[in-house]
């Protein structure tokens, strides 16, 4: 396992920001996740942590945070994390998407801009595995990395006031799924019938940072079926273990 240098900054009265080198790299993400496993193993109460690409925001809900003490603890924990016993499990998820034009309202225009046919765009979008580098912005929104350069397309000039829940979009180096109705400027190429955030579920967000996802083209009939299965709580997205 590769270990990277980290920097630690205070972030208000109850949080710190831990930063890794300023790059989007799977090996950096692995170092962050290893650190989180090691920190959790310390069993300190009252911490919540969130990853985004090369940084980890650590928030404490205890009364006072002694920055110098926590900085020392974090550096110490990072230097000794190779000894962590916890072995996290990472999954590859197949996420179904219906690319019918009814949902993929920008599919034709995006294809033209990218000099592809709509079928070629779909094939390219579904051919790759995308790494989940963070979950944030909205509950259940995944920051995905690994989009092929052939699918990089600018954001729409004017954002839409409302993008439908489940919409799958492309923007810059990013692709992703809107977990709820939201304003947005991405180019919408399809819709995913799976709930990516369900506060009633035992695990409200089944995808974890460090997992990978691959989009899978489905028909309108399969879309409707998955939607119903989701509503009655029997839909299980297909997954495989990556690091067994």
């Amino acid at each position: 396992m590769k270990s990277y240098p980290i920097t630690i900054k205070p972030f208000g009265e109850r949080a710190i920001l831990v930063e890794w080198p300023n790059q989007v790299e799977e090996s950096i993400l692995a170092d962050i996740l290893d650190f989180m496993d090691a920190f959790k193993e310390l069993g300190l109460p009252g911490w919540e942590m969130s990853v985004a690409y090369n940084s980890l925001t650590m928030v404490c809900n205890q009364e006072h945070l002694d920055f110098e003490a926590i900085k020392k603890l974090v550096l110490d924990c990072h230097s000794r994390q190779a000894a962590t016993k916890t072995k996290r499990i990472q999954h590859l998820w197949q996420i179904p998407v219906c690319y019918d034009l009814e949902f993929g309202i920008d599919l034709e225009e995006a294809s033209k801009t990218l000099n592809l046919s709509p079928d070629e765009l779909i094939q390219e979008h579904t051919a790759h595995q995308y790494v989940v580098y963070g979950i944030g912005f909205l509950p259940g929104f995944m920051y995905l990395g690994g989009l092929p350069t052939g699918l990089e397309i600018p954001r729409r000039a004017e954002p839409r006031l409302q993008v439908a829940k489940g919409s799958v979009g492309l923007a810059g180096k990013q692709t992703g799924v809107y977990p709820q109705d939201s304003p947005g400027g991405w180019n919408i190429i399809g819709n995913c019938p799976v709930e990516l955030f369900n506060p009633k579920a035992e695990e409200p967000c089944f995808v974890k940072v460090g997992d990978k996802i691959q989009f899978q083209k489905i028909s309108r009939a399969e879309y409707d079926l998955h939607k119903i299965e989701g509503e009655v709580g029997i839909y299980k997205p297909e997954k495989t273990v990556l690091n067994a």
């Binding site: 920001l17 009252g46 985004a52 944030g136």
Partner: protein, 269 residues
């Protein structure tokens, strides 16, 4: 009007904001007078108050903004424990100061908890706010003898100065930008809500881009156009704009009581 407690801690990793009362200081004081758990759920009443009828006896305590509250047409004060009988009617009038008033009740409102909190936030809770005609559950308390029945507390939110710490990207600021931030007051724009407060005045912009990273309530984001956006309790958990400053917790409570057109200034700690 929303139900709020101290928020939803521990779900930031899946993008769920903390939520909870915007002005925690006011809520803690009201809950303390009622001898409640500090996390007991209250009503957060923004600018305009409702008319509420109590169906069971209890005790209440108001705090935060002063919205000319009356019980059965008799004025009641903030930080006063008020005994409530079945059928009593609480109503509100003109906003006198502040922006968010709180109604705390003995043992807290008993709406369902979702992800460890009663704070209303879509899509975690089904409802965004309390609607007209809705019943809000609470526990009946026949007689309550408070240890302290009333205190005079000076409002903590009347000042204009917000204390700030350096944010993670503070070092990106030029001398010109620093001068613009710390030499003049700012005005609260109409884009102000539980997610964020945007400030009206622009400062010289920038061309920095950064990888998306974590944000907190009180984080001041700096857009390329030179706009300052202060994230609040329902604010997004990550963002891509430089985080130049971070409000102290006391400053978050103060800002929560500011409204469109109010002025404020920053003091670096």
């Amino acid at each position: 009007m929303t139900i709020q407690d101290l928020g939803r801690f521990g779900h930031r990793d899946i993008g769920v904001p903390i939520s909870g009362a915007m002005d925690v200081d006011s809520v803690k004081k009201a809950n303390l007078l009622l001898e409640n758990d500090p996390n007991a759920a209250v009503l957060e009443i923004t600018m305009q108050g409702p008319t509420l009828q109590f169906e069971e006896p209890t005790a209440i305590c108001l705090s935060g903004a002063h919205i000319s509250a009356t019980l059965n047409n008799v004025p009641i004060e903030n930080y006063q424990v008020v005994q409530i009988s079945k059928g009593d009617i609480l109503s509100y009038g003109r906003l006198e100061n502040g922006f968010r008033g709180y109604l705390a009740i003995k043992d807290g409102f008993q709406t369902p908890k979702v992800l460890d909190s009663r704070s209303q936030f879509i899509p975690v809770t089904k409802k965004k706010h309390v609607k007209d005609g809705e019943e809000i559950p609470y526990t009946k308390t026949d007689s309550y003898a408070p240890i302290i029945s009333e205190v005079k507390i000076e409002d903590h939110f009347l000042g204009e100065e917000l204390e700030v710490f350096k944010g993670p990207e503070f070092s990106l600021l030029s001398d010109q930008q620093l001068a613009a931030i710390f030499s003049k007051p700012f005005t609260v724009s109409k884009e102000n809500n539980r997610m964020a407060y945007q400030l009206k005045e622009l400062i010289p912009g920038h061309g920095h881009s950064m990888l998306t990273s974590g944000t907190l309530p009180g984080t001041i984001q700096f857009t390329p156009a030179g706009r300052l956006i202060i994230l609040m309790k329902d604010g997004q958990t990550t963002g891509g704009y430089p985080r130049i400053l971070q409000l102290s917790e006391a400053a978050i409570n103060t800002l929560a009581q500011k409204k469109l057109g109010d002025t404020l200034s920053f003091k670096l700690l």
